[in-house]
Structure formats: C-alpha cells, structure tokens
C-alpha cells in the first residue's frame, strides 16, 4: 500500500493546478479518494468528524442491493431453463444469469460514470458518489432481454437530463434510475413491456415448451387472469418472470435489514409507502368491481416492483421529501398512487415507477407546507408573547 501511496504522491503534482494533466484533476481525485481516504484535517468548526462519508453511505446501499442482484441472476437462469424445458441446478442458473446480467450492469456503470466524470471535469468539481447506487439500480429494474444500446442511451439521457442539467448530484428533482426506466418505457415500449421481454431469448422467438407464457404477475392481474398469479409464497420468494432485481421479496427484505440496521435508509418513507398501498387496496377491495380490485393487499404489495420501489427508489434522499412530516405524506401518496395506476390504468402495468416520479415532482411542495407550518408555529409563539405584554 505504501508503494501505491508513494506512486500517487509522485504523479499528483501533474494532476494539480498548473500540472500537465490538470484537465483530468477530477478524474484523478476520484480514483485517489477511491483508493485512499484523504488526509485532509479540520481547520475550522468542529475538530472531529463522524467517520461516515458519502462513499461509505453509498457503498452500504450497493451492498444492500447485492442480494437482489444475485437472486436476479439466478432467476434469469432459472426462467430461461424452465422456458426451454431443460433440467438445471443452482450454479448453472447463476452462471447463465451472470453472463446475461453483468453486461447490463457494466453498460449502466460505464455510460453513467462517463457522463458524471465529464461533467465533474467541466464543472471542476469532485466526482460525487451518487451514481454508484444509480448504476446498480438501473440493471435491477430492467427486463433481461433489453438491448444493451438502449440501456446505454437511456442511462446517458437520464444522467444528463435528469441530473446534470439541474446541477448534478444533490440537485436533481427526479430519481435518475427511474428516469432511465421511464425513458425506455416511453421511447422503446416494445422492449420493456409485454410478456416476452422478461425471460431471456423469448423476444427473439426462441423455442419454448408448452404452457410457459413468460407473463409477469402484473400482466396476469391486468388481464384478469387472477388464477395464473403465483401464490403469495412464490411471490415472496421471487421465482417468476419480472425485472431482474424486483421479483424476490426475500432478497429485497435482506437489503431492507441492512439499510435499517445501518440507519442509512429512511424507515418513515418505507413504512408509509406500504401503508399507502395497503390503504388503497382496501378501498378497491371495498368496491370490488373487477377481479383486479379484489386482489388482497398482501398480494398487491408482493406483486411487481412495489416493494423494490418502496425500499430503494422512494427513499432516495435527494428526490424524496426532506422533512419528517413531509416524508409520511410523500410515502403514503406514493403507495396510493402506485396501486391506483396499476388497477385503473391497464396501459401502465407497473404504477410504482410513475407514482414515484410523480411524487418526486411534488416532494418540494410537500416540504414547503411543512416548513410553512414550522414558521407559523414560531409566529404564533411570538404573537402570544405580544398579547401578554
């Protein structure tokens, strides 16, 4: 390690202001801080600092996503071999999925980070770590059959127009990962909807055995073929077609445990999204006008990307509401809208994505009213004093 440090110290002047490669300062900085936590010491304000930083925070979220990623890989293999009717085992499934999913992960990171590095360089900023999580989220909400060039184009679109135009990490209004998916959803709908994209090879018309449809539970629900929806336990385990990382609720809950134990993610939002979802489903249950409306709250929450969105998307600290009270309102509305869109608008099988994007737009407004309430309390207090005196 000392040799590496020495090497970095030797080449550092070249990348500093006035050095030969000073235009690559941010890039150098990003790699240097990746390897070594800097030696910077405090000079004003508090003399000591919490050991946590953005890199640590983001890496914890990435770690929390790993169970979903690994299960997703296994499931890709499992669905593929089931569709062609071949016998298989865990390792074979995993290896097949690894070969199919890793390219998407790599394309997502490479295209997104390239944009991030270029913008950091132009702005002469340090490279922010926000994309570490976004780059992992994108593959997890893709169908396995997605063409890689679409992943690249939509990631670049989302990072530039969803994040950089607003000023970069911390300033964006919409969750960049969801924006990527929304972009594909509207620009290349054939590649992200229907029954064939969720299982590898199906969209190319590969041979499938009889009885394998490749339809997701949400598609079944939307076509009122409720009996084809797997039972709750299967929905929980995740052995059915869907986006790569969303199917296994067990894997997602493992991630939730990591996030809650470390205290990184916001339980207020997670809890209220689920409450909102349950609430809306119960309202639909009361009407019960069609088979979709009669689906139980538990099944609704276990289907599709509801839980994945609640845990990893809605809780994005930048695009969510920032006040504690605001977060409850924000979460409940996300949950309610997600189910509402699902059930009443069959054109959008997964309401979660649109619901979160919609509430991202309203989060600042919700915060505004919470802040107003705080201000009003303060003014009231002052008024009380004036009356007394």
């Amino acid at each position: 390690m000392k040799a590496l440090r020495k090497f970095l110290d030797k080449i550092k002047p070249g990348f500093s202001k006035g050095g030969m490669f000073s235009m690559f300062r941010s890039t150098f900085g990003a790699f240097e801080t990746f390897l070594f936590v800097p030696n910077k010491v405090t000079h004003q304000g508090t003399h000591i600092h919490d050991a946590v930083d953005l890199k640590r925070t983001m890496s914890v979220v990435v770690i929390a996503l790993l169970p979903s990623l690994i299960f997703g890989m296994w499931n890709v293999g499992r669905q593929y071999y089931t569709s062609i009717g071949e016998a298989t085992d865990i390792l074979k499934n995993l290896w097949f999925g690894f070969l199919k999913v890793m390219p998407i992960v790599i394309v997502s990171y490479v295209s997104g980070l390239t944009v991030e590095f270029i913008f950091a360089q132009i702005r002469k900023h340090e490279v922010n770590e926000g994309f570490l999580v976004t780059g992992m989220l994108i593959p997890l909400i893709m169908p396995v059959d997605i063409p890689l060039w679409i992943v690249a184009v939509s990631t670049i679109f989302a990072v530039i127009f969803g994040k950089e135009v607003f000023g970069g990490t911390g300033m964006n209004v919409f969750n960049p990962a969801l924006l990527t998916r929304a972009f594909i959803f509207f620009a290349y709908p054939a590649q992200i909807s229907g029954d064939t994209v969720w299982t590898y090879g199906l969209s190319q018309g590969s041979k499938v055995i009889d009885g394998f449809s490749g339809a997701t539970p949400l598609a079944n629900a939307a076509s009122y073929t409720i009996d084809k929806i797997p039972d709750n336990f299967t929905l929980f385990l995740g052995n059915f077609p869907g986006s790569i990382g969303e199917t296994s609720k067990l894997a997602i809950l493992t991630g939730v445990a990591i996030l809650l134990i470390t205290g990184i993610a916001n339980w207020r939002i997670m809890l209220s999204v689920i409450l909102g979802g349950v609430c809306m489903t119960l309202i639909f249950n009361a009407f019960g006008a069609n088979p979709y409306m009669r689906i139980s709250p538990l099944t609704q929450i276990l289907m599709g990307g509801f839980l994945f969105g609640a845990v990893f998307m809605a809780t994005d600290p930048v695009t969510a509401a920032q006040t504690n009270t605001g977060q409850y309102i924000y979460g409940i509305l996300i949950g309610m809208f997600a189910i509402l869109i699902r059930v009443l608008n069959p054109a959008y099988p997964e309401g979660m994505m649109l619901s979160i994007i919609l509430m991202n737009a309203f989060a600042p407004l919700i915060d505004h009213y919470v802040v107003r309430a705080n201000i009003r309390r303060r003014l009231k207090r002052a008024a009380k004093v004036t009356v007394k005196s």
Binding site: H49, D50, A51, L54, E129, G170, Q322
Partner: protein, 450 residues
Amino acid sequence: MPHHIKLIKGLNIRIKGKVKNIFLPCVKSQWVALKPDDFKGVIPKLLLKPGDLVKAGTPVFCDKLNPEVKFASPVSGKVFAVNRGERRKILEIVIETDGKQEYIQHKISEIETLSRQNVIDEMLDNGLWAYIIQRPFGIIANHNAPPKAIFISGFDTAPLAPDIDFILKGQEENLQAGINILQKLTNGKIYVGINGKSVNPSIFEKIKGIEITRFSGPHPAGNVGIQIHHISPVNKGEIVWVIAPADVVIIGKYFSKGIYDVSRIIALTGSEVINTGYVKTVAGTQISFIGKNNLSKIEKRFISGNVLTGTTIPENGYLGFYHNMITVIPEGNYYEFLGWIMPGFKKFSSTRTFASWLTPKKEYTLDTNYHGAERAFVMTGKYEKVVPMDILPQHLIKAALIEDIELMENLGIYEVVEEDLALCEFVCTSKIEVQAILRKALDFVKKEMS
C-alpha cells in the same frame, strides 16, 4: 420540584480522554494573552502600548465601535508584545506576569444600594461586561437594550466537558453575589438549567433568586441555547442574555471583594493527555504549563475549548477568554487505504455503518481527519436527529447559504448560535461546514438589521 424537560434528540460522542476529578499540580505560566478574536464582532482599540505596567483589572483595550466596553488584564505585570497578523489585525496582546498578582482595589459597596446603571458602568469600565453575551447573534451584550431574561446553563454536555459543580465547589457566596448583581440587570427572571440526571444536588439548588429547570438528554442538552428554546424562546425583536456559571462567580467576586480576579479552574482533557484533571489558572494563560511529560509523543492538536466549538491553538498558545477546558487530540493527517469500505472497528459514527456499532459503550480516540471530502448535500434527516429544538436545521442552513434574511428569521436564526448546530457539522455525511455558514449568516443578519 422544578420543571424537568427530557430531550431525546442529540448525540453523546464517545471520545476518549474524560477528565478525572482531581487537581493537577499547577506551574504558573509566565505569559498571559488577550485574544481579541475571542470576542465576536469586537474590533480592538489598544489603550496601552508594549512596556506599560498593568495590574490585574487594568483595561488593556476597548471595542472601537463601543468604546465603553473595555477588556482588562487578568494578571499584574507588563504588556510585553502586540502580535499582529494580516493587515495588522491584532491577534494577541501578550502580558508578562510579574508573579505578584497585584489587583486594582475597587471600592466595595453594598449590592443592595447599587442601581442598574451603577452596576453596568462598573462592569463596562472594569472588563466584566465581556462575560455577558446576548442572544440573538451570540455577541457581547448591548447594555442599552435590556433583556427579557438572563439564562445560565448549570451543566455542560459537550464532549469531555468539565463538571461544572466540581469547578464551582466552595464558591457559593461569590455565585450568590453574582446572581444578585445579575438581578439588577433584568426585569425578567434569571433561569438556570441544571442536569436532571445528576445524583448529587447542583450548587444552584442552594442559590436564591433564580428559577431552576431540569434538563436531561444527550448533548446539546447542556447548551444554554437549547435551554432557552424550551424555557422562553427568543422571538424576533427579543433579546436575552446568557452567562457561564464560572463567569457569574467572577462578577460576584468583583462586587463583593472589589478585585478583578479571573482565576479559573479548567479541565485538561483529551486522549493525548496522560494524566487528565483540573488545573487552577487564569483566563488567557499560556498552555505550556501542561508539560511535555504529560502528553503523548505523536503529532497533536491543542484545542482551547471542546472538540466541537473550540479554537485550535499552538502548543505554546493561550487559553481562550471564555474557555474552561483544553482538549488535546491526535492530528489526522494520514491516508487510509480503502478506508470507506473497511469494517471500521475503531471508528466512531452516529450511523451504524461501521463495525464499531457492535460495541456501543466503547470510547474512541478521535482525530482531526475529515474522513472524506466535501460533497453535494445528499443525505437528509441527519441534522434533525441531533437538534433538540423545533427548528428545521437543514432548511435554516440552506436559507443561510442563499442569504435570505426573511426566511432565516422565519426559520429561527435568532435562536441559534454555532454551538447549537455544531453536532450537525459533526454528523454531516457531506462534510459541510455548518458552523462557519451559520456565523457568516449571523454576521450578515446583524449587519443588515443595524
């Protein structure tokens, strides 16, 4: 039974180097200094020049903007040097002690016979006014604007802070005299916040003329700003005064004995001090009295005050005017290979992202490393967890950054000073310098208002 306010929000930083309840032998330092930077917003105007003889209590400089506010020498001796920095700004006025500690003897009058104006004039002339701080802004009080109340925090919850009751032991009479003087300064009450968790009765429970409120909870429960917020918050246009308990004693001594005696008991703390303990000394003393033998051999930082709000001083620097502790911690100027992903058994964090959360009682050696670099503001909700007030710290800081005075007022800028939001800076994932932002905003608001 006094009112008991239980606070939940906050954070006790588990840092090594707590002070032991013993007195350390003290070697008197030859040098003492007054540092004008200790007094926020004061532009010093020298009243003496190097070579002039002083006694304890001789005014050394005054505030250029309010010349009636004078600052006095803590010791007898002679003005040795005036150290200046950039643009000839006065950094230190160094006084060489003569070892005799002669006081200027003032006339003693019965406290009951003094009028409010008498008290104010005496305090202004003799360097005592500097102890009275006003909120909003945390500056030396404006003596022309009477406060609605005076607040004293009877305990300190800051990391490694001294035990106020230990410091004040045996000072009941002077404390009572000081309180009697403070009563002349306000038509309102004198509120004292004491530790609701303490087993031993606080010294303040024997004092008359005050209203006691008990507070319990993690730091910053002992900050007077937090206590004001819960007892009688500062609204726009209102002024309150605050003063530290040890400084009440100094005022009490002046009016009962007629001398400016600023001897203080300070705590010597921090992980790099081998024998921690209390030291009897005077404000502004050179800290070389600690002695090399009582310090570890690694590179250290000397802090006058606590690790959250104190000022860095050199090894031969001087104790700050208001400070009652010296903290010595290691410097953190090292690189750490892949430190952001290592388990981190030896790192303290308010989150549970490091393995150290498995040992919730352990104390840690904390150094001055940033543990990261400044980043965009991403993580939210962390500030709120360490500010036990009905204030939205994150929104307040954002308002401060855009210099929106009306918004800052609405969000409660008048209720806070740096120390109240210091923990926000400690926990900040993006390493944002909250205290510096807040001070800049306070100065800005003050300037625009006057």
